[in-house]
């Protein structure tokens, strides 16, 4: 019997050891580093500074700026992805003859690497040769070409456009699966009771879609909040600090600034903020 009780642990051991070594270990390390003054090129001397890195962040305008940008980035980007994805899912749930083709093709942006998405949109938004400026001028929407990624007032909008493009298929596909799982009888019953289309949407579709929507929103929110590769490729956080979200700031601080301790503290704070959102969500959905 003893061997039987050990079996699941033996099966789990490789995955657990890998996670312990390459995830939990580094996380503990980051916590430890965040309490020290660490400079990459001075590995021998790492004085313990307590919470000084965290306190420094609270007095760092770049931290608050990055936090605010992160909030805007997450709320606007996830909101747009969700809105567009929901509309697409509702449309693709209707009957038309080329629906299978449309359903397959809509996922393309989701499959592309972030670097390629950054590349595609940097090219689309190019000042001289970009398609966006060209079409905008031809249609009379723009009077002169705009340097979308070089102007602080437009750069955040430009990267949000790119991440919306990348992420809306995720919502479309998951919400579509959710829509298909709603029993047809519910709609029939609602129609028998004389419910109109809007009524059906409010009282049948939305409640039926709720669990999928909540999961998809949470997953995407975490992903968008953590993602920095798209911004790194398109603007590198610039111009100035116009697109420097919190994870990107932590990354740049730790990497190019070689200020490991401070970068670690920023990464820990980002994680704590995300964790609190997830816990809040978990508690609310438990009710």
């Amino acid at each position: 019997m003893k061997a039987r009780a050990a079996t699941p642990w033996l099966l789990l051991a490789p995955a657990l050891i890998a996670t312990l070594l390459l995830v939990i270990g580094p996380v503990a390390d980051t916590l430890w580093l965040s309490l020290h003054d660490v400079v990459l090129f001075r590995p021998r001397v790492q004085p313990f500074v307590g919470l000084a890195n965290y306190l420094a962040a609270l007095h760092d305008p770049a931290f608050w700026g990055g936090l605010w940008l992160s909030v805007v980035w997450v709320v606007v980007a996830v909101g747009l992805q969700f809105g567009l994805g929901l509309v697409a899912a509702l449309l693709l749930n209707r009957q038309f003859w080329w629906r299978p083709l449309a359903r397959a093709l809509v996922i393309v942006p989701w499959a592309l690497p972030s670097v390629i998405i950054g590349l595609v949109w940097t090219w689309m938004l190019d000042f001289n040769l970009g398609l966006v400026n060209e079409l905008g001028m031809r249609l009379g929407l723009l009077s002169a070409p705009v340097a979308w990624l070089a102007r602080p007032e437009y750069a955040l909008g430009a990267v949000i456009l790119a991440v919306t493009w990348q992420g809306f298929p995720f919502f479309c596909v998951t919400l579509l699966a959710g829509l298909q799982a709603i029993p047809r009888q519910l709609y029939e019953a609602a129609e028998m009771d004389g419910a109109g289309r809007l009524h059906c949407f409010r009282h049948v579709t939305l409640p039926g879609l709720m669990p999928v929507m909540a999961t998809a929103l949470l997953l995407r929110m975490i992903w968008v909040a953590n993602s920095l590769d798209l911004i790194l490729v398109m603007t590198g956080g610039g111009p100035g600090t116009a697109t420097q979200t919190l994870p990107l700031y932590a990354f740049l601080k730790a990497w190019t600034g070689a200020d490991y301790g401070y970068g670690s503290a920023l990464a820990v704070m980002l994680t704590l903020l995300l964790l609190s959102v997830v816990i809040f969500y978990a508690v609310r959905s438990e009710r």
Binding site: P14, V23, F96, P113, V115, N128, L232
Partner: protein
């Protein structure tokens, strides 16, 4: 009349969404097929004057791109093998055994899933450096396999949950051990699920950028890092760059179209049922 309503109310909006979704991607591919002289013309021509493969050929013949493709392929295949080797037994344990700590462990894997990459990457860099493993295939394969592990285990557990337990039980009655059940019954039946998880692992590794940049990048340089370095150069050769983008995106898109149904089923399975 009904046909017109269908067209205006459904087909036209779908077309608009597809135009938004596919337009930039198609534009990238079109750009890569045009000669450089045409690319620097302003105002730009929307309809290409002539099509050519010269950018693709230059990219493959004159730059290190073939080696980058090889590196990406090696890393992605390694991540698939290692990821499956780690996630299959773990998923089997989660699906078929009830043991103390099971719930905590499952939650643990989900929490691990949400750690920002920035939190992991710096100490991981130092760890690998101290072992002299930086800039090796091994480092990237380990990194990619581990950071995709939580989702791989989650997907795989879902698939194994869907297999009938009765088969396991009757094999056990016939005297098979747990490991024999895993090898002879569960693995063959879970093969389609394993293929989907493998495709996910491949795409995730193929598309990944930050690990590939930080943990490797010099001797082992994947395509995403190589492309990013092209962008960083002073004079951007958009013909070459878009040719690279087209070549890199193709396997991801094709594999994704294959895996789509299963991945989405696994992704939403829990939520739809729960």
């Amino acid at each position: 009349m009904k046909r017109l309503r269908l067209f205006l109310g459904t087909e036209l909006p779908v077309l608009a969404i597809l135009l938004f979704g596919l337009g930039p991607w198609v534009w990238m591919m079109l750009t890569s097929l045009r000669p450089s002289a045409e690319l620097s013309q302003s105002p730009i021509r929307l309809i290409p004057g002539s099509l050519t493969l010269v950018n693709h050929i230059t990219l493959l013949a004159r730059t290190s791109f073939v080696e980058n493709l090889r590196d990406s392929l090696i890393v992605a295949c390694g991540a698939v093998v290692l990821g499956l080797a780690l996630s299959l037994p773990a998923a089997y344990a989660f699906s078929r055994f009830r043991f103390p700590g099971r719930r905590v462990l499952r939650v643990q894997f989900l929490v691990v899933n949400m750690f920002p990459v920035v939190l992991l990457i710096l100490p991981l860099f130092m760890l690998l450096r101290s072992f002299g493993l930086l800039d090796t295939y091994f480092a990237l394969i380990m990194g990619h396999a581990t950071f995709t592990l939580p989702f791989a285990i989650w997907l795989m557990t879902g698939y194994i949950d869907g297999l009938p337990v009765e088969l396991d039980e009757s094999a056990m009655v016939d005297g098979a051990t747990q490991l024999q059940v895993l090898r002879l019954i569960v693995l063959p039946l879970a093969a389609p699920g394993a293929v989907a998880v493998g495709l996910y692992l491949f795409i995730a590794s193929w598309n990944e950028y930050l690990f590939a940049l930080m943990l490797a990048g010099r001797r082992v340089r994947t395509v995403t890092v190589a492309l990013q370095m092209f962008i960083g150069e002073n004079t951007i050769d958009w013909g070459l760059l878009t040719a690279g983008g087209t070549l890199v995106a193709l396997p991801a898109v094709v594999l994704f179209l294959f895996a789509q149904k299963r991945l989405v089923g696994g992704l939403t399975g829990g939520a739809v049922k729960g």
